[in-house]
Symmetry: C2
Subunit: 441 residues, 2 copies
Amino acid sequence: MADSLKLAVAGLGTVGTGLLDLLAERGEAIAQRIGRRLEVVAVSARTRDKARGGHDLSRIRWFDDPVALAGDANADVFVELIGGEGDPAKAAVEQALKGGRHVVTANKALIARSGTALARLAEAAGVTLSFEAAVAGGIPVVKTMRESLAGNEINRVFGILNGTCNYILTKMALEGREFHDVLEEAQALGYAEADPTFDIGGFDTAHKLAILTSLAFGTEVALDAVYVEGIEAVTIEDIRNAQDLGYKIKLLGVAARTEDGIEQRVHPTLVRKGSPIADVDGVFNAVAIKGSFAGDLMLEGRGAGARPTASSVVADICDIARGVRIGAFGVPARQLTPYKRARMRAHEGGYYVALELYDRPGEVAAVARILADEKISIASIVQRARGSLELNGPRPSPRDTAPFILITHDTLESAMRRALETIVDKGHAVAKPRMIRIERL
Amino acid sequence: MADSLKLAVAGLGTVGTGLLDLLAERGEAIAQRIGRRLEVVAVSARTRDKARGGHDLSRIRWFDDPVALAGDANADVFVELIGGEGDPAKAAVEQALKGGRHVVTANKALIARSGTALARLAEAAGVTLSFEAAVAGGIPVVKTMRESLAGNEINRVFGILNGTCNYILTKMALEGREFHDVLEEAQALGYAEADPTFDIGGFDTAHKLAILTSLAFGTEVALDAVYVEGIEAVTIEDIRNAQDLGYKIKLLGVAARTEDGIEQRVHPTLVRKGSPIADVDGVFNAVAIKGSFAGDLMLEGRGAGARPTASSVVADICDIARGVRIGAFGVPARQLTPYKRARMRAHEGGYYVALELYDRPGEVAAVARILADEKISIASIVQRARGSLELNGPRPSPRDTAPFILITHDTLESAMRRALETIVDKGHAVAKPRMIRIERL
């Protein structure tokens, strides 16, 4: 058998312990499979004297400082499981790459923020930078895009990339409960963080999307250019209306090539019932990719958790052990092209709009006129029974009001925004209009 | 840029032409991506003077004999797109491997029949044997199992691996039409062959399953050990009964580790509605894998067609161009272990059973007794309205009969078979009992 592959592991939290579990359980089988032993030779973590799932670390060298660990000349691969876009994770990864060591990381924030520079650093040093675990946990989407779709032009990739949001939206739909109610339950069950902003605000999804964008289009990572809306404003009424119209509501991250540039957007989205992505429920993640030759491809699985994440970390390590050397984003890092942002106002697509109008003659006609003036064409309209709305509390106006729910044909986002502003400005809307984008699949 | 990778392509049918299309459209982009040009230097096909999608082959060397082509010292990679388990495909692949050339093939029959020997031949010669396109067309399931799940123990893999069958079953369910009616339409539309036996009899699925089994369990390929039932006997009544009970019927290929050995089975299967595999409709394929760390993973996409197949062929070629060298089945070929077959009679699972009983006192009690004697426990029962059955033609008996539909808890296959034999032998059944296995997901 060839020499063992020596690993320096920084970070022994959930994922780090998952990695140790995997190596303990599967180390022999992996060595048989790849012809080399994977050996943890050094570790670092915040506190030394803590139980790590029963793993005996006494014979493994300990570093208090992950950057020093990354510089350890004994290791072949630096495994970064610290997390966070800044130091010490960033400094440690840079140190490892500069020292000519391969890096495997599960750190989405680091790659979404500094992926281009780190990929170039790795390329200059002739080593590998891999991050399968940073996007969609145990789902092999990075490898699929980097290698399996190498012959394809990709024009769109989208996915359900945050299990917390998908769990909440699924629960709302199944049980007819409002967002805050389900969120509290999710927090109590440990499916949502005490401060859930990063997840429900769409930021976690944005990080993963920024990485997928670069894999799909060979562009520099551009996290700041992602348009982000979270799920906080989705109501149970919207979900019911969507159902009546044949849709489900999911938080999607979408990256698409348009005439204007490349769109990167994260927002609640109406997806048609019966489409593969609409059927992805609960904490599951999924990524859908349209390749110019492969056609529609969807990968669905566990997007988080110690074991699925460790599975992806080990896949990257095994590739390095087997001598696989492929650029971090599939193309040579020096060839990553500047990201050209498509302005959100130039987005074209269908829209779901929920308006609450005064129930008096001429209101619907006036709204229809405003939409027509912006060349917005209506595909369908729903009128819901008044009763279900009354339950939501006192009316905002003493007068009777009426919900007006519509789905548009493809429309320019700028036109839609202007129309809604005009509807509000002219005093037709009792409440703030709600608008949710539709993704044609 | 490094030297070009020289390809010898045998077979210029649908997939071969798809490959030429892909290289023409995407050749430049691929060269940028992988740092090497892919160059077709020689081809062979049955007839020389045929239009090949407008591709000019005049400057590419022509061979009448694919085996001679495989021996061409000019090529780095032999791409086998002839098909068929025997010669000339087999002889050509052997010739290429012995001559130290990498082989990429889309030939499921060849790999399902001779995969072990060919993998060993490749290993001995120090070259790569790749066959992503042989299983599930454009879906990267081979790479996922071979590389992305390298750290996992896999205990079960199953899939919808034949688009023709899935199309027919989907149509039957959606339109309430009988099998032969839908099959004729599928033939007229080109979704089914004039002789559809290979597809609808489950044999195509069995070939793909045999390959997945080796990837999952590291065992020698054992096509002959696959238990195969096709979809010919599935009735619209079964589909309706399944729906009432919360299931859909799919043709699955299932490979599972049991105490008795490894099961490989292809048969119509009840899968619970709402499970990811149940939602895969029409011509789409899907493979579901349970990894001990990754958890449940499902890949869904185009399982056939020139372009998806070419996409997978090119992915394999790009890997070779980039220097990726991984054993054909993920483990070193010399380590593939003998396949130990789990007998079908030792299979344990749920069963759907549709009986047509004489409608007279004591019949149901007698049948229930027979089931109980075999320790078969009933999970649920459906009684369908008589009317829907009358439509199927004259009754087999002048007396009134009654359908008796049931779902069992986990049961031993041998017990189930004995019970059904006894029910028939004792004269309780008007028609041959229908039995369909249930897969717990």
